[in-house]
Every structure is written in structure tokens, then in C-alpha cells.
């Protein structure tokens, strides 16, 4: 024990001594957490938070505190596993749990992430419709553009533009303040849980809120980024801050989207049927330009995520099965990689082009799918991060285990409730029909 304290103290002294170097190190290490956070607020995220605010006002704000805590814990686990093992999450799952479990997990994730890809293209369609551009033009263009950008390796340069455009999210806090919500009410709802409702709408919304914030694919993406950035044990404590800042930013944005929508849409009883409705939450700030501003933000979020999400999915699927992956490989060398990637983009875009395709609903439902796919990923992560043979002394603390297992249990519980509720309705309907 004493030794530990001494080591800690020595560590702290060293840190102080290296203060200037730390600043440089921080700039070198920072990034994965912040980027992940911004991709997290994608089309599905903006939609889910907007719907939460429009349908339930500020009543769901309290969920954000526990969700943030869970997000930090889970993301920190991903980053730590990356730094300690030097391997991606799919890699670790395959090496430790064999081919079968990996295969079924990958199928689940492919389906969930296909849903996410569809939702990103729905976001492109919805946002450009506000500018009067038909989805039959915007969606194919976006798909081809992203495909070319990524496959030709020019994506890196464009990433900064996407990231810079994320300042868009600042319009939500401003709009929220200008809308003059009842702040005491907002703050109370942010801390004190409101009454739980036993209906599938409410439960579905809770799952979507968790699923959109703690998305399964993010854990794979973050861990790979940490590994690729060459962040190792000794520099890991910097990465931890990167992750924490990223998580807090994500949820502060979520908070203000909900408040803005609650103060503008909920109070006037507006239900969101399309993007134009959601855009009205920015009217206090932008007036008649609200829809243009919203369209711009949604478009950026959709494109940013559409560039990263399908690609990272393909990367970790290939990683798990040992197929050649990477845009530096030729088509013949990496058939599976390019094939799955191209299929995800084209099929994702094609579905959105179906006549009368429900854009807003898709963006929302894909987030419920995310939530349902989360527990298996969390369970694998927890089993791995607690393996002494992998993590050494960097295994989870009791607190982290409690939070992460708690999150898993809550999401599983909610999913079961949702299913039970769905069945309940079904049975009710049948009974009513037969009677």
C-alpha cells in the first residue's frame, strides 16, 4: 500500500516536471475521443434528442446524467484496452472467444450499423429537402462522393472540415436560451427523475437515448483510433482526458437540443413529422433562417458519420476474420473489404430512395436498434477488460464494473420490457379482435 502511494507521488512529481512537454503530448494524443464524440451526434442522434424534447419536453433530461457517466466509463474502457493491448476490440474478441461468437456478434453489428448508415442517408435526404433538393439527387450524390473520398484516400484532409463544421452545435445552447425555457423546471428535471411510463413509446425512447449516445460501433472505432495513434500505457492518462472531454461535449449538446426542442416544439404541441418541424427549434435564434441553419447542421452530421461509420464497420469485420483491409490495398487484394463497404453504402442509399420512405422514423428506429445491440458488446468488453492476462494491473476498478454492468442490465431490462410491451399490445389486439 505504502509502495503504491510512493509510486503515485513519484508519478505526480514527474508529471509536474514535464508540464510543458505535456502540453505538446496532449496535442499529439488528443483527437480520438473528440472525433468519436462528434460523430456520435449524427443524424440519428440529432433526431432522437429532438424527438425526446418535442414529445416529452424536459421530462427525460434526468437520463442524461447517468448516460454521461455510463458513456465515460464505457469509452474509457475502450481507450484503455486499446492503449494496454495495442489491439482493436474485434481483434481481442476473436482471439479470446473464438470464431463462432465473433461471427454472430459481427452479423448483429453489421445489421445495426447498416441501419445507422441508412439513417445517415436519411439525414442527407431530410436536410437537403429543406433546401428544395430532391432526395433522388442528393442521396446518390452523397453516396458516390463519400465512396470516392474514402476509397481514394483523400478523406483525412476533409475530416478537419467536418470537424470544424461541428461548431454548428453551439447554435442549440443559444437557441435554447433565447427560447426562454422555465429554467428552474429545466434544472429540476435534469437532476430529479420523473415518473417512469410503462408504454412502448416511452421505453423505446429511453433505449434510443442510450443507444444513440453509447453506440456499439463507437467502442470499436475509439479503440482502433487509440491503437492507430500509437497511444501507449505511459501516455494513456492524457487520452483519458480526451475521452472525458469528448463525452461531456456530446451530452452537453444533447442537453441543449432537448431543452431547445422542449421550449419551442413541446410547449406549442408540435410533433416532429419531418426535418422542417425539427428545424423550428432554432427559430428563437435564427428566425426565418432556422430551417437553413438546421439543414446545414444535419447535413454535416450526416456526411461526417456516413464517411466514418460504414468504413469503421468494414474495418473491424475484416479485422475479426483476417481479411485484408485498408484503402491502400488494391481491389483484388481486399475484395471483402471493398465489397462490404460498397454494399453498405449503395444499399444504405438505395433504401432511402424508396418512395414515401419515412426519414425521421428511420433515424429514430435505427437508434433503438443501436441500444438493443449494445449489451452484447458491453458484455464482451467487460469480460476482456477484466482479464488479468490481457490487462495486467489495468483491469477495471469495482466502480467501473458496477457502472458498466449496471448499464448492461438496464438496457437488457428495457429491451425485455419493450418486447413484453409489444407482445402485450399484440395479444391485446388479438383478444380484442377475437372478442
Amino acid at each position: 500500500m505504502e509502495e503504491e502511494v510512493a509510486t503515485l507521488r513519484r508519478g505526480r512529481e514527474e508529471r509536474r516536471r514535464l508540464r510543458w512537454r505535456n502540453v505538446l503530448l496532449f496535442l499529439a494524443v488528443i483527437g480520438p475521443g473528440i472525433i468519436t464524440a462528434n460523430v456520435d451526434n449524427d443524424a440519428g442522434g440529432i433526431t432522437t434528442y429532438s424527438l425526446a424534447g418535442a414529445q416529452y419536453g424536459t421530462k427525460l433530461l434526468w437520463t442524461l446524467l447517468p448516460i454521461t457517466l455510463a458513456l465515460i466509463v464505457v469509452q474509457e474502457m475502450s481507450a484503455r484496452m486499446g492503449a494496454v493491448t495495442g489491439k482493436g476490440l474485434a481483434d481481442l474478441i476473436r482471439e479470446n472467444y473464438g470464431v463462432k461468437l465473433t461471427f454472430y456478434l459481427m452479423i448483429t453489428l453489421l445489421v445495426a450499423n447498416y441501419g445507422n448508415t441508412v439513417s445517415e442517408f436519411a439525414g442527407v435526404a431530410a436536410s437537403l429537402q429543406l433546401f428544395g433538393v430532391s432526395k433522388f439527387i442528393s442521396v446518390p450524390l452523397a453516396a458516390v462522393g463519400i465512396w470516392a473520398l474514402v476509397v481514394r484516400g483523400t478523406y483525412r484532409g476533409v475530416e478537419r472540415i467536418f470537424l470544424a463544421a461541428c461548431v454548428f452545435y453551439f447554435v442549440y445552447p443559444i437557441s435554447a436560451f433565447l427560447a426562454r425555457p422555465v429554467w428552474p423546471q429545466v434544472l429540476r428535471d435534469a437532476v430529479i427523475p420523473t415518473r417512469f411510463e410503462f408504454n412502448s413509446g416511452y421505453i423505446g425512447m429511453l433505449i434510443a437515448l442510450v443507444g444513440t449516445t453509447i453506440a456499439p460501433w463507437m467502442q470499436f472505432y475509439l479503440q482502433s483510433s487509440v491503437v492507430e495513434k500509437g497511444i501507449r500505457k505511459d501516455r494513456y492518462w492524457i487520452s483519458r482526458w480526451d475521452v472525458i472531454v469528448g463525452c461531456v461535449v456530446t451530452d452537453v449538446v444533447a442537453f441543449f437540443i432537448i431543452v431547445a426542442c422542449a421550449a419551442t416544439l413541446f410547449t406549442h404541441g408540435v410533433t416532429i413529422r419531418d426535418a422542417a418541424d425539427a428545424a423550428r427549434s432554432l427559430e428563437p435564434l435564427a428566425g426565418r433562417y432556422a430551417s437553413s441553419l438546421f439543414a446545414f447542421g444535419l447535413l454535416n452530421a450526416s456526411l461526417f458519420s456516413a464517411a466514418i461509420l460504414p468504413l469503421s464497420t468494414v474495418y473491424y469485420v475484416c479485422e475479426a476474420f483476417g481479411w485484408e483491409a485498408g484503402v491502400d490495398k488494391k481491389w483484388g487484394e481486399a475484395k471483402a473489404f471493398y465489397g462490404i463497404y460498397t454494399a453498405m453504402l449503395t444499399l444504405g442509399a438505395a433504401v432511402v430512395l424508396l418512395p414515401k420512405f419515412p426519414l425521421i422514423q428511420t433515424m429514430f428506429v435505427s437508434q433503438i436498434a443501436n441500444g438493443i445491440a449494445l449489451p452484447p458488446v458491453l458484455i464482451f468488453m467487460l469480460l476482456l477488460v477484466n482479464k488479468k492476462s490481457l490487462m495486467g494491473d489495468q483491469v477495471n476498478s469495482r466502480f467501473f464494473n458496477a457502472v458498466a454492468w449496471g448499464t448492461t442490465a438496464v438496457v437488457v431490462g428495457l429491451t425485455l420490457l419493450l418486447i413484453a410491451n409489444g407482445f402485450g399490445l399484440e395479444i391485446g389486439r388479438r383478444v380484442a379482435g377475437s372478442g
Binding site: G88, V227, K229, G230, G322
Partner: protein, 443 residues
């Protein structure tokens, strides 16, 4: 990619016998010679560094136990092909334990589902299964690793269903015959102790791989597996591999995380000074200083002088490893001196004639030397023109000069025409070649 350097893939099964898949053996019940049930097969071990290694030990998980494993010698298996597997020993003769030493690896722990280096294809592969051969006299050897889709499907338990489906659609489908097996002698594991890895490398044809291919393999491996493999390489190979690694982050990691800093310094000394300077200038200055301090003072001076040049100038591209002669010596004398230094110099086609103040007087290449008579003085056979560049010139200017005058290398001189170094055509090629498409899109 590197089929020429690595040789063709060897698919002929070496010894004749009965094929078994490791995945079929795993978890198979084991009984002793009296027919008593012992447990299930948990793992098998082999010795590293043999082309067809015999199974050394059998690790058995006793029924109802998960922690302790019993070990039987590979020689104590009476029948591998039977189900359950029959031992020739008694249960009471088995002892609990772990792997014997670092010269052995376990098939499940270190190979199955793990990544390995395939030397024959110069690629990183993931092991879907292992194929074993039971020899006529009853012993079993590891023969191949399976990296194919069929292996994957078999592990998933869908082999029959998928085969039947494929056969109905296309009876002649390539899929039905395409076993992607790689002979064990071409496989280097990535999960092994450094000592074991060195042993494995010593027997493999990995030395036949071009350093550029090895560098690409290192870049494709997960970070955790790079270091042990890099450390197992000999200093001279490591030096060439390090200069071929394209990602500066990986170069840094390989150097600074070397368990033996002395070896890192040796690797830097062995590298061409310009390449060493390139690598060091990417490091945080503290780490670079530490490594320089461990190098031979002379090498360290050369390298650190090169590091002083601004990035993307002729100065940063040049090497100081230049062969110079006075104009007064004969061709025969020049040949004698060349033979002396040839072993330490990378680029041996272009030499320069300098005066006593090291000012550039002319250039001589191999062709001119061979065409000259033994008694000719260098001043008479040298090309009298002294085309050169300055340290602050840009890479594209250097490339233009090399292209215009069809040079293999161009000398770098200062304002007083004193020779500082030279830039070779391959160094300038990597600089101006449009690499953008090759850059990995890092997640």
C-alpha cells in the same frame, strides 16, 4: 506482391498420413489405457523451429475442472484418430502443469484465431484452423495452417450446408476445392516469447523476404505484435526494415520501445545516415538525444549534422556516405580502395573526385572506371562537369536535375563547391512519387 522473393507457396503435404483438423480435436474426450475417462483436450504444444513439429504435450482439462490442466506427453497417445482419444498412459501417471519452456508454443493459445505472418505470401493472416497429420507410426505433426473461407465455414459448423448450396448452384465452383493451407515452415507466430520467436525466425525463410515486404508486414500487424517481431530480427535486417517503414509513428514506436536501447542505437548506426536522421528527426527531441548519446560518437555526429537540415530540402534528403578520390590516383588504385570500403557503403555506382579542400572536381562512375586503363589517372577518366545541387534546394529541383542529366546520384555542395553529400535516385523517387494514394487511411 513478393512471390519472387519469397518463393512459391508449398501445398504438398510433406509426410504421408491421415489429416486431422485441430478444431475437430479440441474438446474431444480423452481416456487412459484402462479406458478411464480423463477429460477433454484443451491444447497441444509443439517445439518452435522445426518444419514439421511433433506434438510435444497434450493439455487435458479434467472433467469438472477449469483451472488445472493435466499434461500427457505426445508420445503417450495411442490413437489420435479415435473418439475418444486413447492414451497409452494411466491417469495416475499424468501430472498437472504448464508449458515447458519458451521453445514451445501452444496451438490454441498462440495460433488458433490469432494473426501470423505468412512468409510465402509476405502477408499477415488470421488462422482459421490448423491441419495435423498422423504419421503411420502413430505420432502426430503440425503441417499447415488454414487461412481460407472454407476453414472459417467449417469452424462455424456450416460446412455441409454451404457445400451443398454451392454444389447445387455451381458443381464446379472453385470454392469446393480451395483449401487455403500454408505450410507451417512458412509461418511465423506473433504470440510467443522473444526467445521463442527468435528460434522460430531462425528456421523460417523470413530472411528471404525483402526488407520492404517485412516493413509492410510490420505495419499490418497490430501494435502489440510488432515489437517482438522487430526485436527478433538481426541488427542489419532491422536497420533496413526500419528505413522502409513508411509511417513515422510506427518507426518511433519500434525504436523507442526497444527493450534493449543499446540495440536501438546499433540499428541506427547500421542504417544509412540519411535514413537514420529521417527517423530520429521524427522522434521527440528527448528520445532522439538519448539514442544519439548511445551511438558511436562519429556516427552520432554525422546523423545529427544531417538532422539540422530543414525538412523537404536537398540537405535533409542527402546521405553523407559518399566515396571520394583525389584526382591523382590511378584507376587500379581506385578499384583497390573501392574493394576496401564496399562492405560499408550502400550505394556503389557513383564516386566523386575532390581536391585537397574537398571541393568537387569531377565525377566518376563504374562505367568510366571499367573503361579506363589501370594506369590512367582519375583526373583523366573523370567526367569534367560538376553538376550539383545546394542543400537548400527543393526535392523537385533535385529531381529535375537528376532527370535532365540522367544521373544515378547528384552531389550536394555548399557555396564554395565543397562536397557535403549526395542524393541518390531512389531517395528522390520516394520523395516526389505521388504517395497520397498509398497512405493508409488511419481510423
Amino acid at each position: 506482391m513478393a512471390s519472387e522473393t519469397a518463393g512459391s507457396r508449398d501445398l504438398t503435404p510433406g509426410p504421408a498420413g491421415v489429416f486431422l483438423y485441430f478444431s475437430d480435436l479440441l474438446d474431444r474426450a480423452i481416456v487412459d489405457c484402462d479406458g478411464h475417462s480423463i477429460g477433454k483436450l484443451a491444447d497441444l504444444s509443439i517445439r518452435l523451429g522445426e518444419p514439421y513439429p511433433f506434438i510435444q504435450q497434450v493439455f487435458i482439462r479434467p472433467t469438472g475442472q477449469s483451472e488445472i490442466l493435466l499434461i500427457a506427453s505426445g508420445n503417450h497417445v495411442r490413437s489420435w484418430t479415435a473418439d475418444p482419444i486413447v492414451l497409452s498412459a494411466r491417469l495416475s501417471e499424468l501430472r498437472p502443469g504448464r508449458r515447458q519452456d519458451e521453445t514451445q508454443i501452444l496451438l490454441k493459445e498462440a495460433l488458433l484465431d490469432k494473426q501470423v505472418v505468412d512468409v510465402s505470401g509476405a502477408k499477415v493472416e488470421r488462422v482459421n484452423d490448423l491441419s495435423l497429420i498422423v504419421l503411420p507410426e502413430g505420432k502426430m505433426v503440425l503441417a499447415h495452417i488454414d487461412v481460407g473461407t472454407r476453414g472459417l465455414v467449417r469452424r462455424l459448423g456450416w460446412e455441409k450446408a454451404i457445400d451443398a448450396t454451392v454444389r447445387t448452384i455451381d458443381p464446379k465452383s472453385r470454392y469446393l476445392k480451395s483449401e487455403q493451407l500454408i505450410g507451417w515452415k512458412y509461418v511465423v507466430p506473433t504470440v510467443a516469447d522473444p526467445a521463442g520467436l527468435r528460434l522460430a525466425l531462425s528456421q523460417k525463410s523470413i530472411m528471404r523476404l525483402h526488407p520492404a515486404d517485412l516493413a509492410e508486414i510490420l505495419e499490418d500487424l497490430p501494435a502489440a505484435s510488432r515489437q517482438p517481431l522487430f526485436e527478433a530480427l538481426e541488427v542489419s535486417t532491422a536497420a533496413r526494415v526500419l528505413s522502409e517503414v513508411e509511417d513515422p509513428r510506427i518507426q518511433e514506436e519500434l525504436l523507442t520501445e526497444q527493450s534493449d536501447p543499446e540495440k536501438a542505437a546499433d540499428v541506427l548506426e547500421t542504417m544509412a545516415p540519411d535514413a537514420a536522421a529521417d527517423v530520429l528527426s521524427e522522434l521527440p527531441s528527448e528520445d532522439a538525444e538519448k539514442l544519439l548519446a548511445r551511438m558511436q560518437p562519429e556516427d552520432a555526429r554525422t546523423v545529427s549534422s544531417l538532422m539540422g537540415h530543414q525538412e523537404d530540402t536537398a540537405g535533409s534528403l542527402m546521405t553523407t556516405e559518399v566515396i571520394t578520390f583525389p584526382g591523382t590516383i590511378t584507376v587500379a588504385e581506385a578499384f583497390r580502395r573501392l574493394r576496401e570500403v564496399a562492405g560499408n557503403v550502400e550505394f556503389l555506382y557513383q564516386f566523386y573526385v575532390v581536391d585537397e579542400k574537398r571541393r568537387l572536381a569531377g565525377s566518376v562512375n563504374m562505367r568510366r572506371l571499367f573503361l579506363g586503363k589501370d594506369t590512367d589517372r582519375l583526373a583523366d577518366v573523370m567526367a569534367p562537369w560538376t553538376i550539383s545541387v545546394h542543400p537548400e534546394d527543393s526535392p523537385s529541383e533535385v529531381a529535375e536535375v537528376i532527370e535532365k542529366y540522367n544521373l544515378a546520384a547528384v552531389p550536394v555542395v555548399d557555396q564554395d563547391r565543397v562536397l557535403l553529400g549526395m542524393i541518390t535516385v531512389d531517395d528522390i523517387l520516394t520523395e516526389v512519387f505521388p504517395l497520397a494514394w498509398k497512405k493508409k487511411l488511419q481510423l
